[in-house]
C-alpha cells in the first residue's frame, strides 16, 4: 500500500495551524509510515505535484496569489481540507473587510507611518494584488472537509487524519472536535 500523498499550504493566515500540525510531535513518526509530505512550507518542493491525496489548506484568501494557489491545490488534490478558522470562516484577516476604502489599509502602513520614501509598494515582483474582500476558501473552491479551530488542536488534526487514513470520511462530532476559536 503506497503512502498517502499529503500536502499543506498557508495562504492568508498566521501559520498557527501548521504549528499545531507540528504539535503532533512524536506521532509524526507514525504519520510518516503511512503518509508522505509532497508539498508544503516545511519541505523544499517548489511545485505542487498533480496527484495529491489530502491537501490541508490553511488561511483565508487575501490576494490574487492566494486565489491562484487554492485553485491549483483544488485541481491537483483528491481531498481538500479547509484547515483552521481562517480557511473555514476567514477569521481575523477578514477584519480588513469592514474598512470601506481598502486603500486606507495600505496608506496607514506605507504612507502615514513611514519616515523615508513613503510609497505604496507595487513593484513587478513584490506584492500580489489584494482582493477587494478577504474570503474563506470555500468561496473559491469545493471543500471536502472543514476543520475548525484557531488553531485546531493537534488531537483534532490527528483525529481528522486518522479518519482519512482509514479511508472513511465520517464527519467529526462533539464539542471537542468541532469548535471555533
Amino acid at each position: 500500500m503506497d503512502k498517502i500523498k499529503l500536502a499543506t499550504i498557508w495562504l492568508g493566515g498566521c501559520s498557527g495551524c501548521h504549528m499545531s500540525f507540528l504539535d503532533l510531535d512524536e506521532w509524526l513518526f507514525n504519520l510518516a509510515e503511512v503518509a508522505e509530505m509532497v508539498y508544503g512550507p516545511v519541505v523544499d518542493a517548489k511545485e505542487i505535484p498533480d496527484d495529491v491525496d489530502v491537501f490541508l489548506v490553511e488561511g483565508s484568501l487575501a490576494n490574487v496569489e492566494n486565489l491562484e494557489m487554492v485553485r491549483e491545490a483544488r485541481r491537483k488534490s483528491k481531498f481538500l481540507i479547509a484547515f483552521g478558522d481562517c480557511a473555514v470562516t476567514g477569521n481575523v484577516p477578514t477584519m480588513r473587510n469592514r474598512i470601506a476604502k481598502q486603500s486606507t489599509v495600505l496608506e496607514r502602513s506605507y504612507i502615514e507611518t513611514a519616515d523615508v520614501q513613503a510609497q505604496i509598494p507595487g513593484g513587478m515582483h513584490t506584492a500580489p494584488q489584494l482582493l477587494s474582500k478577504v474570503v474563506p476558501i470555500h468561496e473559491a473552491v469545493k471543500v471536502d472537509m472543514h476543520l475548525p479551530g484557531c488553531p485546531p488542536s493537534a488531537a483534532r488534526i490527528k483525529a481528522a487524519i486518522e479518519e482519512l487514513m482509514a479511508h472513511h470520511y465520517e464527519p467529526l462530532t462533539g464539542e471537542k472536535m468541532i469548535k471555533f476559536g
Binding site: 499550504i9 495562504l11 501559520s15 504549528m19 507540528l22 517548489k46 488561511g59 520614501q117 478577504v134
Partner: protein
Amino acid sequence: MPKTITIDPVTRVEGHGKVTIRLNDDGSVDQARFHVAEFRGFERFCEGRPLEEMAGITARICGICPVSHLMASAKTGDAIYAVKIPPTGEKLRRVMNLGQIIQSHALSFFHLSSPDFVFGLDSDPKDRNIFGVMKADPDLARKGIRLRQFGQRVIEILGGKKIHPAWVAPGGVRTPLTEEGRQEIISRVAESKETTLLALSIFKGMLDQYKDEVEVFGNFPSLFMSLVGEDGEWEHYGGSVRFVDSQGNIVADKLDPMNYKQYVGEAVEADSYLKFPYYMPLGYPDGIYRVGPLARLNTCSHIGEGAPLAAAELMEFRQRGGGTVNMSLYYHYARLIEILAGVEFIERYMDDPHITDTRVRSIAGINQLEAVGVSEAPRGTLFHHYAVDADGMITKVNLIIATGQNNLAINNTVDQIAKHYIKGPEIPEGMLNRVEAGVRAYDPCLSCSTHAAGQMPLKVTLIGADGSILDEVTRG
C-alpha cells in the same frame, strides 16, 4: 544573456518570501533582492476595537510567536491602565515568554534548518526536510521534537493552549500556575538541557566544515539592538533598549521604548511589503541594525545570574566569533545558547517560593491614552504602540515587528551570497539553496513582518538586464 533569477518560494521559512537575482550580461550578479509578498493591515483594522481584545487579535499575526504579541500587547495595556502587575504575574509572563523562545528556536534549528546541516546544502531537495531527518537520524529528530514540545507544554500548562492562549491580559495574567504544572515543568528540565547541549556540540563541530559559508553568509558590519536588563544582562521581557556597533561599543543605552520613534525610523521600498527599519540618528540605509538572537548576545554585557551553562557557552561563542559577532550564520549558534538560558531560567523560576501564588492580576481602568509595550520575540525586539479614547477603544496602532528590523540585513545577506556563489546563467540547485539558507539564518517570520502571510516560499524567475521576465527556474 542577461537574466534575473527569482527564488520563489523560499522554503523552510515561516511565511512568504521571494528572492530576485538580477544578472549582468556576463552572467555575474548585478543585484539580489529579498521581497515579502503579503499584507493584511493589522495596523488599520484594529482601530475601533477595545484595548482588551488587542492581545487576542495581534496574536493572530503569527502562529510561531503569538506569545510575543500577547506580551507586548499586554504590556501596552498595563501602561494604559498605568498599573503595577503582581510580582508573580510578571514572573509567570516571563516563564511563558521563555517557553516560547525555547519552542520557536527549537523549531528553527531542528525542524527548519537541521536538514541543511544533516544532509548538506547541495543534497537532494526531496529529503532535505524534517521528515528526511526523521528517517536519517531518528534519534536527533525525536530529541528536537521533544525539545520544542517542552516549550509548547510550558505555554499550555500556563495558558491552557499551545498556540494563541487567552491568558496574558493587561494587569497580569488570568490564571496562576498549579503545583501539578510546576512539577511537570521541573520533570522535563534535565532532558531539555541535555538535548540543547547535544545540538550545541553538533553545531560547533560543523563550524569548520562550513568555514567559507560562515565568511559570506551575511557577514558584514552593522549595529545591533535589543532589550537589556538593569545592569546590562540578557533580557527577553523587560529592561530598556540598547544599541551596540559592530565592535561592541555601546552607541545608545537605557532608551525608553515609549520613544522608539526617536531612534527607529521606517523606510519603504517599491519592491516589498516589508518596511525597512533603521537607526534614525545614522539615517537610511547607513543606520542598518540587526535584532534577534545574534543581537541579544552582542548587546548584553552578560547572560545574567542563574544560567551558568549558558554563560559558559556565551563566552565560547564570543571567543569563536571574534568578540562582537557579525556573521549571520552564528544566529543558529545564538539560538541554541538562548534555548539553554531559557531552560535554566525556567528551572530557577520553578524554585521561586512565590511562583504558585494566586494573586496574579491587578484590575484597573483606562488611565493613560497612549502607550508603547515592548518584548523580545524569538526573532527580535517587538514594539506595540496604541492610542485609545477615554472608553479604551483603539484609535491608532503602530507595530514594529521583530523580523522586519532584519529586512536590510537579509537583503545584504542575499546579495552577498548570490554574488559569491552565482556565476553565469546555469545555476545549480545547491546555489539557490545557499541563498535560501542565508535567509533561513535569520529564521525570518514573514507572517509577522508584514502582519500578514501569503503564498508559498521561494521560487526562481529569470529577469533580463532590461527587466523583462525571460525564464522561470523552478525546482522539485
